[in-house]
Amino acid sequence: MLLAVLIANFEGNILVERFNGVPAEERLHWRSFLVKLGADNLKGVKNEELLVASHRSVYIVYTVLGDVSIFVVGKDEYDELALAEAIFVISSALKDVCGKPPTERLFLDKYGKICLCLDEIVWKGLLENTDKERIKRLVRLKPPTEF
């Protein structure tokens, strides 16, 4: 299960958070944990350079893209490598929507589109689409080209 996708700005303000199968009372704990993890480790990290950690039986892969940091959390079959795949798709989709690694302003300007992309990529904790070209078409309700 892909338990969480969280996108925050550098100050640790949450821009997007999507939890799956995480009880409401644990979300705050995860939010603060991830933000702290980012604050401790993401300084000076290059765009899309992946960092990885594990906390109990859960894996966390996170990175920086432009002005935002992206965290994905998973367990069981969503181990560090599967999460790396997921975060790669998310970053590619973000760059695609924003045209470049986004500034915070650009990210917020394209917020609706970004939500649609995330909806295509992760649905209730399962990775659904992994190809950015296809995602680009799907959010516009266009069928995939290879079909």
């Binding site: 933000v35 960092l51 950690a53 367990k75 795949e85 917020y111 939500c115 399962l126 309700l141």
Partner: protein, 888 residues
């Protein structure tokens, strides 16, 4: 309501301000009224939906009324033909997840989209419908979903398959009917469809071993298109391998060749998954392991941190069971100590600590010292634990390892970290006699400047037990007395007790200890004064407090013997029900084992795995005692000695779930049958159990308590009591039949019919065994307990246990037979060992302490021999333990 951690409302430059600046839920809900306009403005509507999504994504929640209002407005947007807006509407409905009674508003629109000629409408409508649907609606749309699974558009097929995976949790019977279509989708040429289909098919068939095995066999021979699907297949394959075992004739492992082949796959994800699967094969041989270790070693020097992490994490696990297999990677791992990613560095260090040999310890410690200063406490704790294990492995190296621990003890750190270090030093002192003196001095130095009261008191207690046994006990007194002068009341009181222990053990120090204790009589804290007074009287008294020197030592060093949680509950009960009688410490139950009652389990609550701390053990003994004391028929039975763990009397998923708890009293046993009715259409009344005790001759039934009513999914209990000879560990077998009156229930109204039918239900038999008369009570230091028990009632004998599967199996059989508490981790048998010693402790009926030493040996033909030495407070009890083993 969950508040966002920080709202996005920074006020930097004007150009930088957020489009959501000052966003407020109430205002956005007002704006959402545009959805009701007769002339829809698609762009404006999309903007409002975006704002709603922003609020939801920040953890904002809507009240029921707000959500309903927004939901109804959003459904109006189906009138718009704007494609972008339609996509947003789909997302918004999913996010709002309307309640069952509201869904009806939107189903017809979604059903229309689901049959639309536009593929993408179909895919999205499927996802939304499956998100909001319930069982009844699902049967209506099932036909379309089955078609969608085999749709030629991969997006539609994937939407249906992923929906299937989710629906399987709530409506398994329906989804299981789709297996033919899913099977077809597994053969799809679209990579993702295959991935989703494989996941769903496996979930549908996961309880059918043969089907899973067939699935794996066919797919490992065929083509799997995406790396993700390949990873799934490897996981399922390793499950099949686990269940099938090695071919005993050829020694080959089924599917090993497939896994080994995956090590040469082009996707790193697949290579890693295969390597990991090989490392966790049960009884994996070095030959099988080598190719996997080789690829993991290559990953260690990968430029991708995720791969380095995955590799070192896996090698870390391998090092626990096959340290020699990992040694080839040591050089690569040493270079990871300086890895920028601290998780990787910590894993590398702990792996090296497991695989390193005696000669590399010093070099390793030097590297770690530099590393420790720049990692967080949680990583440091992991390293400390690894160092402790290393020191126990190479006791000769204790000097450098103990020095390392004492150095880091002096540095900055939080409580958990310091506690880990102190615990490690304590364990080393206990297990490595040479390390004792230096270890105690390190601890003394530490308490001179320790900010944690808990640790100071723990160390003082330990010092009191171990310090007097050293060659020069007087050197510790200064450190202890400093605590009396410098610390808070809790630590001072602890220090007073420690001083008293020195005084009791060493006569030459006694006069000087007396001087120090007398000074404590003027302390401003009453606990400190009380303790000082008490100890002065016990140690130098006239015999009015305690009579002999032995009593003094028993008083000072004896353990409480009662679990503190039990003590706390009993005291609370005592305070709540004031009584003339003084509190009797013997009334506190000693049972440590606490298994939650079946009826106390929270229904439907599944572990999330996301780290909610486990709830503390509830004291089951107290709950049982309370239940039993509330039944007048049983109040004359006296004090409850022990309650067993529940024994299941029905198989899982039967109509009625019943288990039994055996409550043991001196002259009675009470069987508590916990019953659950799992049929919603039935109400059971007058429920009781007919017990046939013809194979339990020493027991005679004396009473029972039926259960008046047992509604669906509300557990209840019925009891049957038996009399047995006093103090005798009578054993026997009991057959059980559940009798009740069953009444039909109308599930729509919840009302039961007036007339019922008598019925009965056969339950499994169970036995009262010797272990039921033994309470598991641990001792902290077995050797001390053994020596203080003395050899007066020691009984030793040897037994042949016959051929056994393994030494571990023989050890656990004997432990279970006796029902005693294994001490000091001796229940764990290292693999491949040919002999093993196991220490057990317990309390036998009549409150008799029993200690057991077991020595096992196994020969080449797997014949196990056992030497059993028992010490107890009564020779009959020692003999009984031998009888139990002889007849078991």
């Amino acid at each position: 309501m969950a508040q966002p951690l920080v709202k996005k409302d920074d006020d930097r430059d004007d150009e930088e301000y957020s489009p959501f600046l000052g966003i407020e839920k109430g205002a956005v809900l007002q704006e959402a009224r545009v959805f009701n306009d007769p002339q829809l403005d698609a762009r404006r509507c999309s903007q409002v939906i975006t704002k709603l999504l922003y609020l939801l994504n920040q953890g904002e929640t809507f009240t029921k009324i707000e959500a309903t209002e927004v939901f109804f407005s959003v459904t109006k947007l189906f009138q718009s033909r704007d494609i972008g807006l339609r996509r947003m509407v789909y997302l918004m409905i999913k996010e709002l997840s309307p309640s069952a009674d509201e869904v009806i508003i939107v189903t017809s629109s979604l059903m229309k989209d689901m049959n639309s000629r536009t593929d993408m409408y179909r895919a999205n409508a499927i996802r939304v419908l499956c998100r909001i649907t319930d069982g009844t609606l699902l049967t209506q749309i099932e036909r379309y979903l089955k078609q969608a699974i085999v749709d030629k558009n991969p997006v539609v097929a994937s939407a249906a398959l992923v929906s299937g995976i989710h629906l399987l949790q709530t409506n398994p019977e329906i989804v299981k009917r789709w297996s033919n279509e899913v099977q077809e989708a597994v053969q799809s040429r679209a990579a993702l469809v295959q991935f989703h289909a494989l996941a769903l098919l496996h979930q549908i068939r996961q309880n059918d071993r043969l089907a899973v095995s067939k699935l794996v066999t066919s797919l490992t021979k065929g083509t799997v298109r995406s790396p993700l699907a390949q990873c799934l297949l490897i996981r399922y394959t390793s499950q099949v391998i686990r269940e099938s075992g090695v071919n005993t004739q050829t020694g080959d492992r089924p599917f090993y060749d497939y896994l080994e082949g995956c090590l040469r796959h082009k996707a790193e994800m697949v290579i890693f998954e295969a390597a990991r699967a090989i490392t966790v094969l049960s009884g994996v041989t070095t030959r099988e392991l080598t190719p996997a270790i080789t690829v993991l070693q290559l990953f260690l020097s990968s430029s991708k941190p995720v791969l380095r992490f995955a590799a070192v994490r896996t090698l870390n696990k391998v090092a626990m069971t096959h340290p020699m297999a990992v040694t080839n990677c040591n050089i690569d791992m040493e270079s990871l100590i300086s890895d920028q990613n601290r998780s990787i560095a910590t894993l590398a260090i702990t792996t090296l600590l497991k695989t390193g040999n005696e000669s590399s310890v010093d070099r390793l410690m030097k590297q770690i010292t530099n590393f420790m200063s720049d990692i967080a406490d949680e990583f440091k704790i992991v390293v400390v634990d690894a160092i402790r294990s290393l020191c126990l492995k190479f006791p000769l190296k204790y000097r450098s390892l103990m020095n390392f621990l004492s150095n880091i003890l002096r540095e900055e750190g939080g409580f958990e970290y310091k506690k880990a270090i102190v615990d490690s030093i304590v364990i080393l002192i206990r297990d490595i006699p040479d390390a004792k003196e230096s270890g105690l001095l390190h601890l003394c130095e530490f308490i001179e400047d320790c900010e944690f009261t808990y640790l100071s008191t723990q160390i003082l207690h330990f010092l009191g037990n171990e310090g007097p046994k050293t060659s020069d006990p007087s050197k510790y007194i200064r450190y202890i007395y400093n605590r009396v002068i410098l610390e808070n009341a809790t630590v001072r009181a602890s220090a007073v007790s420690t001083l008293a222990k020195f005084g009791a053990m060493i006569d030459s120090l006694k006069p000087r200890i007396f001087i120090l204790l007398r000074r404590c009589l003027f302390d401003n804290d009453d606990e400190v004064r009380d303790r000082a007074t008490l100890y002065l009287n016990t140690l130098g008294g006239d015999g009015s407090v305690v009579e002999t020197d032995k009593d003094v030592k028993e008083f000072l060093f004896g353990s409480l013997d009662i679990p503190l949680t039990n003590m706390e509950t009993s005291l609370k009960n005592y305070i709540q029900n004031p009584s003339e009688e003084p509190f009797d410490i013997n009334s506190v139950p000693k049972e440590v084992k606490s298994q939650p009652l079946v009826e106390k389990k929270a229904p439907g609550k599944k572990p999330t795995g996301l780290g909610a701390p486990p709830t503390g053990p509830t004291s089951t003994a107290d709950t049982y005692e309370r239940i039993l004391s509330s039944i007048p028929e049983f109040t004359s039975f006296g004090k409850l000695f022990k309650s067993s763990a529940p024994v299941e009397l029905t198989e899982a998923e039967t109509e009625y779930a019943v288990n039994v708890v055996k409550h043991i009293f001196d002259r009675h046993v009470v069987f508590q049958y916990n019953c659950t009715n799992t049929i919603p259409e039935q109400l059971l009344e007058n429920v009781f159990v007919i017990v046939d005790a013809s194979e339990a001759e020493e027991f005679s039934e004396v009473g029972s308590k039926p259960l008046k009513s047992l509604p669906y999914d509300t557990p209840g209990q019925t009891f049957v009591a038996f009399e047995k000879p006093e103090g005798v560990p009578a054993v026997g077998k009991f057959s059980n039949m559940l009798r009740f009156t069953v009444k039909e229930v109308d599930t729509s109204t919840g009302e039961a019919e007036d007339d019922g039918v008598e019925d009965e239900y056969q339950l499994e038999d169970f036995e009262v065994v010797a272990a039921d008369y033994m309470v598991k009570v641990g001792v902290s230091n077995f050797r001390n307990a053994w020596e203080s028990m003395g050899p007066d009632f020691e009984r030793i004998d040897e037994y042949g246990l016959g051929p056994r599967e393994s030494l571990a199996e023989a050890v656990s059989t004997v432990i279970n037979l006796l029902g005693m508490q294994p001490c000091e981790g001796t229940e764990v048998v290292p693999s491949n060992s040919r002999s093993h010693s196991c220490l057990l402790s317990g309390l036998y009926i009549g409150n008799m302490k029993v200690l057991v030493r077991l020595s096992f040996g196994i020969d080449a033909s797997k014949e196990v021999a056992m030497k059993l030495a028992v010490r107890s407070e009564d020779e009959n009890v020692s003999d009984t333990i031998h009888d139990i083993v002889a007849s078991g």
